[in-house]
């Protein structure tokens, strides 16, 4: 879908070419574009709901079994939903040449990447966080684990967007980039999955869990500082 995008920037009043101005303008533009195709926003959400409901259907609705696998299932569904929505991060801009314009514009590509990742999280990651109480209910997650579950998703889904964007940057020039993308990013997601599910499982055993949240926070800070550089480098290679 490459509808002309001029209208998105017309109302922007962030002048002066400052970094934060550019960042906010880009986020605003991308959010406007995303909301223009509101139905497409729902696809990852619906995918998430469908995937979660497949588990009781496939394994059986026994409440204890569901409760036991709930942290892992919810997190795996979050991983899958994120990967599905990642390709759209740069695809339409790549196809109509906007991405190339970004690369040759004066603005640092790292900042542009960060802006797009932020939008992706707002549009794809945040809904996962907001839906998680419902998913926890479906998977019979014990009430005392819910808070930590939401926290792990809140801290973890941005990391998924950040690391995933590196993969998207590398595969954006491929026609079937989306398929290769999952192979590329899933190994990198393994530590996040392990730590997040460990945090939630610790709550149900009444064990300390804050160290895992700390690790996730550290991972988030590291990714925010490092991933956009890697994404920018990947985009430069893909567009060369």
């Amino acid at each position: 879908m490459s509808a002309p995008n001029q209208g998105a920037d017309r109302g922007a009043d962030y002048r002066g070419g400052s970094l934060s101005g550019a960042f906010l303008a880009l986020v605003r533009r991308d959010l406007l574009l995303a909301f223009r195709r509101r139905t497409e926003l729902l696809f990852p959400v619906i995918f998430l709901l469908v995937v979660i409901s497949l588990f009781p259907l496939g394994i059986g609705p026994g409440p204890q079994l569901l409760a036991r696998i709930a942290p892992g299932v919810i997190w795996i569904a979050a991983l899958l939903a994120t990967v599905i929505s990642l390709d759209a991060l740069f695809r339409s801009d790549f196809e109509d040449g906007t991405l190339e314009q970004f690369v040759i514009s004066g603005h640092p590509l790292t900042l542009i990447a960060l802006a797009k990742i932020a939008t992706h999280w707002l549009v794809a990651g945040l809904p996962i966080v907001l839906l998680s109480p419902l998913l926890a209910l479906w998977m019979n997650l014990p009430a005392e684990s819910l808070g930590v579950m939401v926290l792990t998703l809140l801290l973890g889904t941005p990391i998924l967007s950040l690391i995933g964007s590196i993969g998207v940057g590398l595969t954006i020039s491929l026609k079937r980039g989306g398929q290769l993308l999952s192979l590329l990013v899933f190994p990198l997601y393994v530590p996040i999955l392990i730590i997040a599910t460990a945090a939630v499982m610790a709550t149900s055993d009444n064990l300390p869990y804050t160290q895992f949240l700390g690790l996730l926070a550290a991972g988030l800070i590291t990714s925010v500082t490092l991933a956009p550089f890697a994404t920018a480098a990947a985009l430069k290679i893909s567009l060369s």
């Binding site: 590196i166 590398l170 595969t171 020039s173 491929l174 079937r176 980039g177 290769l180 192979l183 590329l184 899933f186 190994p187 990198l188 393994v190 530590p191 392990i194 730590i195 460990a198 490092l226 890697a230 480098a233 990947a234 290679i237 893909s238 060369s240």
Partner: protein, 275 residues
Amino acid sequence: MNTNVNHPSKPRKSALVLFIHKLGSPPWFYAFSGKLIPWLWLLFGIMTAWGLYLGLVKGPADYLQGESVRIMYIHVPSAWMSWMIYAVMAGLGFITLVWRIRITEILAMSSAPIGAAFTLVALASGSLWGRPTWGTYWVWDARLTSELVLLFLYLGVMGLYNAIDEPRKAARAACLLALVGVVNLPIIHFSVKWWNTLHQPNSISFTGGSSIDASMLWPLLIMAIAVKFYYAANLLSRARVKLLEQDLRKAWVRNVVPRDLPRVGPDVVHRDRGN
């Protein structure tokens, strides 16, 4: 490529720097590696024969595990190589991205299949070692699970390299991926190790804990060195072929190919088709 290394007004560069510069030139690299490869294979053969003799014939069986411990002499060196090659590939990838040297790009991309092969051997031999030791062919223990994730990382690098059409762009993208992977590798490895202790507190380690007896350590170390010669020989061999494939039309390649086919005129087209 700077070839003006011995300009009279500059101080003479050391032999090592000169050597490294020369390696960057495809014909020189091709000729040099061609001479080196047979020696590397010879050393591999000698070390492997010696190591396997010490390990399989002369060495003892384990007190706890019995004869199956002999699988260690292929499993552990393969596992070590699978990790080492990834690190080397990432290092070469870093050089490629920063300095854009073609030969390191080729060496990095040639390393990936070799590393994947060693990972495969480590997984298979580990699985076969597990059957008599633990009673099952697959266990989600720390080492096997890490090796599996490492295999996926290798497949990702190889897949990305093969998916992009233009070779230099493909290599740069794959090198970036290898770098991202190597940064994540310690994190992945430790999180898997920790995950394993969390879920399987009674897991048995292959080498049984603290120290390993000298009669088993020696064959292990010899095999570990032997596979390094394998890697070097195979890597150079693959790099040479890649150079040929990429420089198909260049002048230096013509001097390399033995011109032993007789020219007999237009009929040669039909005769060639059988090849």
